[in-house]
Symmetry: C2
Subunit: 351 residues, 2 copies
């Protein structure tokens, strides 16, 4: 990746990055207590907790990194490079370079981490919106004394949260990089997720929530990937006499689902899956510079929706249209492909 | 629909149609007993039963009509025009005109009708292939004294059966009209169906097979229809605070699934869903004239696959590429759109 150069810097916070680039990055993390968090849906979360993690040089400009509903506060881990849900994109020498930027992550409200979330069997946890996640992130920034984020880099649900942050607190963020995220969900995407949630609720009612979650995630996998990738990996389907367990593509999807269900509570999945579908941002009210990344083959958040968002944004917008057979999951897979979008967003290019 | 004219007839069987066009159509149906039906997968179905139904003028050329895995022997009903799974396309004055043709339908082996099928809880019903359905259809033809079918008009799974019939018994059929069917299943389609079957098996194990079948069918609906149709019908997704039951597109899909589960045994769904995925025809061995209909927006059987089939067929092939926002379900919805393909196939046009 080309070096960032001072001449291209456009705001004073970035000068700090240049000054502190030689400071060795370190990690801090903690739990922020919030006495009362009014939620966008009208409910109030009382005595909320938000788990956060900050990695990078002291004093460096801060970039919040936010992923899908199964992401968490550990995007990268300096001590354990094999850990971290975004370890290919975030870390020392990576497109989001923790030698130059401090990287802030949180566990989602309602998610499987250490932030406030529904307990097993809990049905009355309030509806959480992407906007509430943005408010939680701002509360963490307040607690850490971060007046303004240099950028938010979010993918999928995290991209929605980044857009929400730009909408509700434009003075608190310099640039939003939103990857495979739009201002609203498409009917087919909501349909797919509605079926996933119904599977989980049905299984919870029958006493096997994890089994249902594994099936729901297997379905989700069919929407995260593409026809082309599955066809390349599983070119041969059945043969005479073959039974369900013989189809390799099905084995793969179900195995991925089962692995997911081992680390996620069904109630948390329900909470965050719903949160995606109720999301709606008003693009005209988003006036901070936004870099959008659209993967042409993404079935879940389509190029058409992201183009619609790009056209409707109220401020500077750069749309990066990219090709990847990984579809929606490209943000987890395509380091080289995404690097230029990270560079452009972090350097504040708006043309 | 334009009238068929005698001058366009190309084979002697059609002359019979012209002669008998004034004969009033009638209906006969019955159960054919088959002592021993060797199946393509290697097992043998002992003491099998195949339910059949024949509608049309006595002596008219016979067209077999075959639909998806939830279709059955009643494509149309002269006494009750509101009944019949293909009543828009098949019947008096319809594109497949029962005043001119006799229409033969069967209940699928392994399906929800009156043919041999797994009993509730039965796990050892043999694997059924589309080729076995073709053999069952031929057995019915033998029983009824039908030496040669004028045509087979099949959609979805029924299209696969039509292709199988052409492959295994080219002297028994004049033309195959295969709508939204290809010679093999795509990995994503098999993946979607694998998840559906896993949902049903999981629910059967928990004691609620119908509940699982409803969910599996809701998932299937997302593959039968298209992004464009769902977006048109359900343009607005969630709002702040909305919960799962508030999403109209989800309500629709789940309601359709629940309705389906009322009339289908889970074990039969499993049998026929598997049958789709193990299907594989060798196009080069299909030498009878074939008319293929591909719906450009079909997610389940794509235009690319049907073009591949058209290019590989061993005999005359006509590919009708059509546009419908109903996607895979167009064969149930698009009477006007499909009428020319029916006309061309029934009249034996091969250019």
């Amino acid at each position: 990746m080309p070096e960032l150069t001072i001449v291209q810097l456009r705001n004073p916070v970035r000068d700090t990055a240049a000054r502190t680039a030689s400071v060795r990055p370190s990690t801090s993390q903690g739990l922020l207590g919030v006495a009362r968090l009014p939620l966008h849906g009208g409910a109030v979360l009382e005595r909320g907790v938000i788990a956060w993690r900050l990695v990078g040089p002291a004093g460096a400009p801060v970039v919040a990194v936010l992923g899908g509903i199964s992401a968490h506060r550990v995007a990268c881990d300096l001590e354990n490079p094999g850990r971290g849900w975004w370890r290919e994109l975030v870390g020392p020498g990576r497109p989001l370079d923790t030698d130059r930027y401090a990287v802030l992550g949180i566990d989602w409200l309602g998610g499987a981490g250490a932030s406030s979330a529904p307990m097993p069997g809990q049905a009355d946890f309030p509806a959480v919106d992407a906007r509430d996640q943005a408010a939680a992130l701002l509360a963490v920034c307040d607690g850490l004394g971060i007046a303004r984020l240099h950028a938010v880099a979010g993918a999928s649900y995290g991209g929605m949260v980044g857009l929400s942050l730009a909408e509700i607190a434009p003075t608190r963020v310099g640039t939003v990089l939103a990857i495979s995220a739009a201002h609203r969900s498409h009917a087919l995407a909501t349909g797919w997720r509605s079926v996933q949630r119904a599977i989980v609720r049905h299984s919870l009612a029958l006493g096997d929530g994890p089994g249902g979650l594994a099936l729901a995630r297997a379905l989700a996998m069919t929407t995260y990937r593409t026809r082309a990738e599955l066809e390349r990996r599983f070119p041969v389907q059945g043969t005479p006499g073959s039974r369900s367990q013989d189809f390799a593509v099905g084995q793969y999807l179900l195995a991925r689902g089962a692995a997911y269900a081992e680390s996620t509570r069904p109630e948390c999945f329900l909470c965050l899956s719903e949160s995606i579908d109720r999301f709606h941002a008003d693009p005209a009210r988003i006036r901070v510079p936004v870099h959008l990344v659209a993967i042409a083959a993404d079935q879940l958040v389509t190029l058409a929706e992201i183009r619609e968002l790009a056209d409707a944004l109220g401020g500077p917008a750069v749309l990066h249209e990219l090709q990847s057979e990984y579809g929606h999951d490209a943000f987890l897979k395509e380091t080289e492909l995404l690097a230029p979008a990270f560079r452009a967003a972090l350097e504040g290019e708006t043309t």
